[in-house]
């Protein structure tokens, strides 16, 4: 019986944003700035996390990191946030991580975050991947279709020009960044909560 099975398993959902467990974060973020980066994430001795692809080729210690996402001008939508996810050229890992937001482990509905199948109902455009020739018009159109006020949140290193040289911000105005390659579900939730103007601490 499914019901008994479900009850026996208990609560599987993450306590984030109250608490973040070690299980939920990848161990692949550089903890110090390396001297140089083969993929151009280091400039003038400073590490740009937005461009770090977590390749672990540099000679620094690696570990877990939170609080990396940056959001300018958040929306005052504390009660519900509707998100449209648009893939403009990912490696499919970001798609999987976004899909996992609906898994029992993260369950974003408890945080009043909802995904919509159309940009016309969305407050936030969640974009992943480096924009390809085929997807640039789609990206622009999706942004145009969204009602005001609207924000664009960018997922992952390749949407910030790490691998392909193209950035999402070259085509639509960007309000927030979630670093990681791919960003883990907890990091995506963090970015979305910040866009909704909610505390993540």
């Amino acid at each position: 019986m499914w019901i008994i099975r479900g009850l026996r398993k208990g609560v599987l959902t993450s306590e984030y944003p109250k608490r973040v467990s070690e299980e939920e974060l990848p161990f692949s973020f550089p903890l110090e700035a390396p001297a140089e980066c083969p993929f151009g994430a280091v400039e003038d001795g400073r590490l740009d996390y937005r461009k770090c692809i977590n390749c672990r080729l540099c000679n620094v210690p690696f570990g877990q990191k939170t609080g990396l996402s940056e959001v300018k001008n958040p929306l005052p939508f504390r009660k519900s946030l509707h998100v449209f996810f648009l893939d403009v050229g990912t490696c499919h890992a970001c798609n999987r991580e976004v899909a996992l937001l609906h898994s029992p482990n993260y369950d974003v509905h408890r945080l009043k975050i909802f995904f919509t199948p159309t940009p016309k109902h969305a407050d936030v455009l969640l974009v992943a991947g480096c924009p390809t020739d085929g997807m640039i018009p789609v990206l622009k159109e999706a942004y145009e279709l969204m009602p005001e006020p609207k924000r664009v949140l960018v997922l992952g290193a390749c949407a910030n020009g790490a691998l392909c040289g193209r950035k999402v911000e070259d085509f639509v105005p960007v309000d927030g960044y979630v670093p990681g390659c791919p960003p883990s579900p907890v990091q995506i939730i963090e970015g979305l909560l910040k866009v909704a103007g909610r505390d993540v601490e």
């Binding site: 161990f27 692809i53 977590n54 990912t90 490696c91 999987r96 482990n105 919509t116 390809t132 392909c164």
Partner: protein
């Protein structure tokens, strides 16, 4: 019989790869003309031009994608329909052509691997397995044992994802969540094991990066959980009825379209790279029916086999110093959805040319053959039973198109 596995453009000619799945014999040929196989245009072009509108039909063309919520990825299908039945359908490739593959060339091998992992994220361990098979001249048995284990863990979470999607399509809300949970738990095991949720950076030239080998012990619990869930799910008549006879692919279709992987095995054609890979001793799982249910049963059985293989492996960080094989070499790996192929040319220890072929490029065409004649509500069941993605289908075919 030889199957046409890949076609690449190179210096104005075609480089074709033919594969005999019974013996593992591979043939790389230089040809001036495109081989006379149905799949050949799809392997080289952006679409499959051989699907035609029947004369006198009142069907209307419809494009599904590339931003459609149902697909969840940048890809599209052109569908010919008169409302309910799918008269004809073809995949539209090219929306995901990112040019990432050009960044594989002429850099140190460890950087090439880092880029290759980001070509197709959820099959990264399979691609690096294939690439390193092509590159390493005298492979170290112990290192490959661990790489094999990582590949099987990748198979686990991808198969769980497929079952989760199929259960979701049939509105089995509870089952779909349980399988989604299994997928996430497997990713967490991989995270503990390699330091990355998708295993990026685990396969490095000559070695494997393992942080905590004991993390795989947690898979034992997941195995028990999976067995119970499988039993419960397959008892649901509603679920089985939705999959039975949906998106049927006959044995002849598989041979004609050179389909690979789970799609071929579900139709009784035992095409599996692991059958002749020197690091495996494996007999392919097959099922004769060719419908979505048959492909699900193949996956269920393969999950069991993967657990078995993983149990026999001692996961630990290892490094070796194998020689690098110069010249043009072929590497194969059995990814969760089908085989992936890397044709690599090395010069002075660096990649000077590379061709990549993912199974999705072939199997989307097989899916289209299978779903033709079905009705719209069967579409997600058919599509998800193949477990493909467009990032894998849109890989560069080694040159301008």
């Amino acid at each position: 019989m030889m199957a046409l596995s890949a076609v690449f453009r190179r210096n104005g000619n075609y480089l074709t790869v033919w594969l005999d799945y019974d013996t593992g014999e591979a043939l790389i040929r230089k040809e001036e003309r495109l081989p006379d196989r149905k799949i050949a245009p799809a392997l080289i072009g952006e679409t499959t031009p051989y699907i035609r509108i029947p004369a006198g039909s009142n069907a209307v063309p419809l494009t599904f994608g590339p931003a459609a919520g149902g697909l969840g990825q940048a890809g599209a299908f052109e569908i010919l329909t008169y409302g309910e039945r799918i008269v004809s359908i073809r995949p539209v490739y090219g929306y995901k052509r990112r040019g990432i593959e050009e960044r594989l060339i002429n850099r140190p091998l460890e950087e090439t691997i880092a880029v290759l992992e980001r070509a197709v994220g959820n099959f990264a361990l399979a691609y690096t397995y294939a690439f390193l098979r092509a590159v390493e001249a005298n492979p170290d048995e112990d290192v490959w044992e661990v790489r094999k284990g990582l590949l099987e863990i990748e198979r686990l979470y991808n198969h769980f994802n497929v079952i989760h999607k199929l259960a979701g399509d049939a509105s089995q809300k509870v089952a779909t969540m349980h399988f989604h949970w299994l997928e996430e738990e497997t990713l967490r095991v991989l995270n503990r094991l390699t330091g990355h949720r998708y295993g990026f950076g685990a396969n490095v030239p000559g070695g494997v990066r393992i942080l905590d080998g004991r993390a795989v012990e947690r898979l034992g619990k997941l195995k028990e959980e999976f067995r119970e869930l499988r039993e419960e799910l397959l008892e649901s008549k509603i679920f089985i009825d939705r999959l039975h006879n949906t998106c049927r692919l006959s044995r002849e279709d598989v041979i004609e379209l050179d389909a690979v992987g789970v799609a071929a095995r579900g139709s009784g054609v035992g095409r599996d790279v692991r059958a002749f890979d020197r690091f495996y001793s494996y007999k392919p799982v097959t099922c004769e029916d060719g419908d979505a249910l048959a492909r699900l049963m193949v996956r269920m059985e393969e999950i069991e086999r993967s657990f078995e293989i993983i149990e026999g492996i001692d996961f630990r960080a290892l490094s070796s110093d194998p020689e690098v094989r110069e010249g043009l070499n072929l590497g194969l790996a059995e990814a969760p959805h089908g085989d992936v192929l890397t044709l690599v040319e090395l010069r002075d220890g660096r990649v000077s040319w590379i061709g990549l072929r993912g199974a999705s490029r072939i199997n989307y065409v097989a899916f289209c053959r299978g779903i033709t004649g079905n009705i719209f509500t069967d579409f997600p069941f058919g599509l998800h039973s193949f477990g493909l993605n467009f990032a894998d289908a849109d890989l560069w075919q080694g040159g301008e198109e």
